[in-house]
Protein backbone atom coordinates (compact mmCIF):
# COMPACT_ATOMS: atom_id res chain seq x y z
CA UNK A 1 0.00 0.00 0.00
CA UNK A 2 0.95 3.64 -0.23
CA UNK A 3 1.44 4.05 3.49
CA UNK A 4 1.28 2.16 6.75
CA UNK A 5 -2.33 1.34 7.54
CA UNK A 6 -3.63 0.55 11.01
CA UNK A 7 -7.06 -0.73 11.91
CA UNK A 8 -9.19 0.05 13.71
CA UNK A 9 -8.56 3.77 14.20
CA UNK A 10 -10.31 3.65 17.54
CA UNK A 11 -11.17 0.77 19.81
CA UNK A 12 -13.14 0.93 23.04
CA UNK A 13 -13.18 -2.25 25.08
CA UNK A 14 -14.17 -3.34 28.54
CA UNK A 15 -11.61 -4.22 31.17
CA UNK A 16 -10.71 -7.88 30.96
CA UNK A 17 -11.52 -8.31 27.28
CA UNK A 18 -9.18 -9.41 24.50
CA UNK A 19 -8.28 -7.05 21.64
CA UNK A 20 -6.40 -7.32 18.38
CA UNK A 21 -4.83 -4.38 16.59
CA UNK A 22 -3.79 -4.73 12.97
CA UNK A 23 -0.94 -3.14 11.02
CA UNK A 24 -0.49 -3.32 7.27
CA UNK A 25 3.02 -2.04 6.42
CA UNK A 26 4.27 -0.43 3.25
CA UNK A 27 4.58 -3.07 0.54
CA UNK A 28 8.10 -4.48 0.40
CA UNK A 29 9.13 -3.28 3.86
CA UNK A 30 10.63 -6.16 5.79
CA UNK A 31 10.95 -4.47 9.19
CA UNK A 32 7.88 -3.67 11.26
CA UNK A 33 7.76 -1.93 14.64
CA UNK A 34 5.11 -1.51 17.31
CA UNK A 35 5.14 1.43 19.70
CA UNK A 36 2.78 2.61 22.42
CA UNK A 37 2.19 6.31 23.04
CA UNK A 38 0.49 7.57 26.17
CA UNK A 39 -1.01 11.04 26.37
CA UNK A 40 1.67 13.71 26.43
CA UNK A 41 4.51 11.23 25.98
CA UNK A 42 6.77 10.09 23.19
CA UNK A 43 6.28 6.65 21.63
CA UNK A 44 7.59 3.75 23.68
CA UNK A 45 9.09 0.76 21.85
CA UNK A 46 7.24 -2.55 22.22
CA UNK A 47 8.48 -5.06 19.62
CA UNK A 48 9.93 -5.27 16.15
CA UNK A 49 9.88 -7.88 13.40
CA UNK A 50 12.37 -8.51 10.66
CA UNK A 51 10.41 -10.69 8.27
CA UNK A 52 8.26 -13.14 10.18
CA UNK A 53 10.35 -13.31 13.32
CA UNK A 54 10.22 -11.07 16.37
CA UNK A 55 13.82 -9.80 16.48
CA UNK A 56 13.37 -7.77 19.67
CA UNK A 57 10.38 -8.01 22.00
CA UNK A 58 12.08 -6.41 24.99
CA UNK A 59 9.54 -3.59 25.14
CA UNK A 60 6.45 -5.73 25.68
CA UNK A 61 5.30 -4.77 29.19
CA UNK A 62 4.10 -8.22 30.28
CA UNK A 63 2.85 -11.56 28.97
CA UNK A 64 -0.61 -10.16 28.24
CA UNK A 65 0.91 -8.56 25.16
CA UNK A 66 1.80 -10.63 22.11
CA UNK A 67 2.40 -9.85 18.45
CA UNK A 68 2.60 -11.96 15.31
CA UNK A 69 3.55 -11.46 11.69
CA UNK A 70 2.97 -14.90 10.16
CA UNK A 71 3.62 -14.08 6.50
CA UNK A 72 6.11 -11.27 6.94
CA UNK A 73 3.66 -8.56 5.98
CA UNK A 74 0.59 -7.78 8.10
CA UNK A 75 1.13 -7.82 11.86
CA UNK A 76 -1.34 -8.17 14.71
CA UNK A 77 -0.75 -6.92 18.24
CA UNK A 78 -2.82 -8.93 20.71
CA UNK A 79 -3.64 -7.84 24.23
CA UNK A 80 -5.28 -10.28 26.64
CA UNK A 81 -7.23 -9.38 29.79
CA UNK A 82 -7.02 -5.67 29.03
CA UNK A 83 -6.52 -3.24 31.89
CA UNK A 84 -7.34 0.46 32.09
CA UNK A 85 -3.61 1.20 32.06
CA UNK A 86 -3.38 -0.28 28.57
CA UNK A 87 -5.29 2.72 27.22
CA UNK A 88 -2.98 4.50 24.78
CA UNK A 89 -2.34 5.06 21.09
CA UNK A 90 -0.65 2.05 19.54
CA UNK A 91 1.59 3.04 16.63
CA UNK A 92 2.99 0.80 13.95
CA UNK A 93 5.94 1.72 11.71
CA UNK A 94 7.72 -0.04 8.89
CA UNK A 95 11.07 0.38 7.17
CA UNK A 96 12.72 -1.19 4.17
CA UNK A 97 14.93 -3.31 6.41
CA UNK A 98 15.88 -3.22 10.07
CA UNK A 99 19.12 -1.49 9.06
CA UNK A 100 17.25 1.42 7.51
CA UNK A 101 17.41 4.78 9.25
CA UNK A 102 14.01 5.85 7.94
CA UNK A 103 10.79 4.47 9.38
CA UNK A 104 7.26 5.37 8.31
CA UNK A 105 4.46 5.45 10.85
CA UNK A 106 0.78 4.66 10.56
CA UNK A 107 -1.86 6.91 12.08
CA UNK A 108 -2.19 4.71 15.15
CA UNK A 109 -5.00 2.89 16.93
CA UNK A 110 -6.42 4.67 19.94
CA UNK A 111 -7.30 2.01 22.49
CA UNK A 112 -9.55 2.92 25.40
CA UNK A 113 -10.19 0.38 28.13
CA UNK A 114 -13.23 1.23 30.25
Amino acid sequence: GAGVSQTPSNKVTEKGKYVELRCDPISGHTALYWYRQSLGQGPEFLIYFQGTGAADDSGLPNDRFFAVRPEGSVSTLKIQRTERGDSAVYLCASSLTDRSTEAFFGQGTRLTVV
Binding site: V4, Y33, Y35, G40, Q41, G42, P43, E44, F45, Q50, A55, D56, L91, A93, D98, R99, T101, E102, A103, F104, F105, G106, Q107, G108
Partner: protein, 115 residues
Protein backbone atom coordinates in the same frame (compact mmCIF):
# COMPACT_ATOMS: atom_id res chain seq x y z
CA UNK B 1 18.78 2.67 30.02
CA UNK B 2 18.89 5.23 27.25
CA UNK B 3 16.78 8.29 27.95
CA UNK B 4 16.12 11.35 25.83
CA UNK B 5 14.82 14.48 27.49
CA UNK B 6 13.29 17.27 25.49
CA UNK B 7 12.83 20.86 26.53
CA UNK B 8 10.70 22.78 26.73
CA UNK B 9 7.72 20.42 27.08
CA UNK B 10 5.30 23.12 25.92
CA UNK B 11 5.85 26.26 23.90
CA UNK B 12 3.31 28.84 22.79
CA UNK B 13 4.62 31.65 20.61
CA UNK B 14 3.41 34.30 18.19
CA UNK B 15 3.72 33.94 14.45
CA UNK B 16 7.05 35.28 13.23
CA UNK B 17 9.03 34.47 16.38
CA UNK B 18 12.04 32.16 16.46
CA UNK B 19 12.34 29.16 18.76
CA UNK B 20 14.71 26.36 19.71
CA UNK B 21 13.83 22.91 21.01
CA UNK B 22 16.45 20.80 22.75
CA UNK B 23 16.94 17.04 22.98
CA UNK B 24 19.48 15.81 25.55
CA UNK B 25 20.84 12.49 26.73
CA UNK B 26 23.71 11.05 28.71
CA UNK B 27 24.04 8.30 26.07
CA UNK B 28 25.83 8.45 22.74
CA UNK B 29 23.58 7.70 19.79
CA UNK B 30 24.53 6.43 16.34
CA UNK B 31 22.10 8.87 14.78
CA UNK B 32 19.22 11.04 15.80
CA UNK B 33 15.93 11.75 14.10
CA UNK B 34 13.39 14.50 14.46
CA UNK B 35 9.70 13.87 13.84
CA UNK B 36 6.60 16.03 13.82
CA UNK B 37 3.29 14.59 14.93
CA UNK B 38 -0.15 16.13 14.50
CA UNK B 39 -3.25 15.10 16.48
CA UNK B 40 -4.66 11.77 15.34
CA UNK B 41 -1.68 11.07 13.12
CA UNK B 42 1.54 9.11 13.41
CA UNK B 43 4.94 10.84 13.61
CA UNK B 44 6.37 12.07 10.29
CA UNK B 45 10.14 12.01 9.85
CA UNK B 46 11.69 15.44 9.29
CA UNK B 47 15.41 14.70 9.31
CA UNK B 48 18.13 12.25 10.34
CA UNK B 49 21.49 13.51 11.61
CA UNK B 50 24.38 11.09 11.82
CA UNK B 51 27.72 12.87 12.28
CA UNK B 52 28.71 14.75 15.42
CA UNK B 53 28.44 18.49 14.77
CA UNK B 54 26.27 17.96 11.69
CA UNK B 55 23.85 20.74 10.74
CA UNK B 56 20.93 20.19 8.38
CA UNK B 57 18.46 22.74 7.11
CA UNK B 58 14.92 22.10 5.97
CA UNK B 59 13.42 25.41 4.82
CA UNK B 60 12.96 27.40 8.06
CA UNK B 61 14.05 24.48 10.27
CA UNK B 62 17.68 23.98 11.30
CA UNK B 63 18.76 20.76 12.99
CA UNK B 64 22.06 20.27 14.77
CA UNK B 65 23.63 17.12 16.21
CA UNK B 66 25.98 17.73 19.13
CA UNK B 67 29.69 17.07 18.70
CA UNK B 68 29.54 14.18 21.17
CA UNK B 69 26.34 12.80 19.57
CA UNK B 70 24.50 13.04 22.90
CA UNK B 71 22.27 15.99 22.14
CA UNK B 72 20.50 17.79 19.35
CA UNK B 73 18.57 20.98 18.72
CA UNK B 74 15.84 22.08 16.37
CA UNK B 75 15.62 25.78 15.55
CA UNK B 76 12.63 27.26 13.74
CA UNK B 77 12.94 30.70 12.19
CA UNK B 78 9.88 32.91 11.74
CA UNK B 79 7.42 30.31 13.04
CA UNK B 80 4.08 29.96 11.29
CA UNK B 81 0.76 28.51 12.52
CA UNK B 82 1.38 25.52 10.23
CA UNK B 83 4.40 24.62 12.40
CA UNK B 84 2.06 23.77 15.28
CA UNK B 85 2.44 20.17 16.44
CA UNK B 86 4.31 17.74 18.66
CA UNK B 87 8.04 17.59 17.89
CA UNK B 88 9.78 14.36 18.84
CA UNK B 89 13.43 13.44 18.77
CA UNK B 90 14.46 9.80 18.54
CA UNK B 91 17.95 8.44 19.12
CA UNK B 92 19.22 5.32 17.37
CA UNK B 93 21.00 2.93 19.70
CA UNK B 94 22.76 -0.02 18.09
CA UNK B 95 21.87 -3.46 19.39
CA UNK B 96 25.31 -4.87 20.17
CA UNK B 97 27.15 -5.31 16.86
CA UNK B 98 24.10 -6.51 14.94
CA UNK B 99 23.91 -3.47 12.72
CA UNK B 100 20.29 -3.00 13.74
CA UNK B 101 19.04 -0.08 15.76
CA UNK B 102 16.56 0.54 18.53
CA UNK B 103 14.96 3.97 18.47
CA UNK B 104 14.40 5.68 21.80
CA UNK B 105 11.95 8.57 21.61
CA UNK B 106 12.11 11.74 23.63
CA UNK B 107 9.21 13.04 25.68
CA UNK B 108 8.17 15.53 23.00
CA UNK B 109 7.75 19.29 22.73
CA UNK B 110 4.27 20.53 22.05
CA UNK B 111 4.47 23.71 19.97
CA UNK B 112 1.61 26.11 19.34
CA UNK B 113 2.12 29.03 16.99
CA UNK B 114 -0.53 31.73 17.30
CA UNK B 115 -1.56 33.79 14.28
Amino acid sequence: TQLLEQSPQFLSIQEGENLTVYCNSSSVFSSLQWYRQEPGEGPVLLVTVVTGGEVKKLKRLTFQFGDARKDSSLHITAAQPGDTGLYLCAGAWERGTSGTYKYIFGTGTRLKVLA
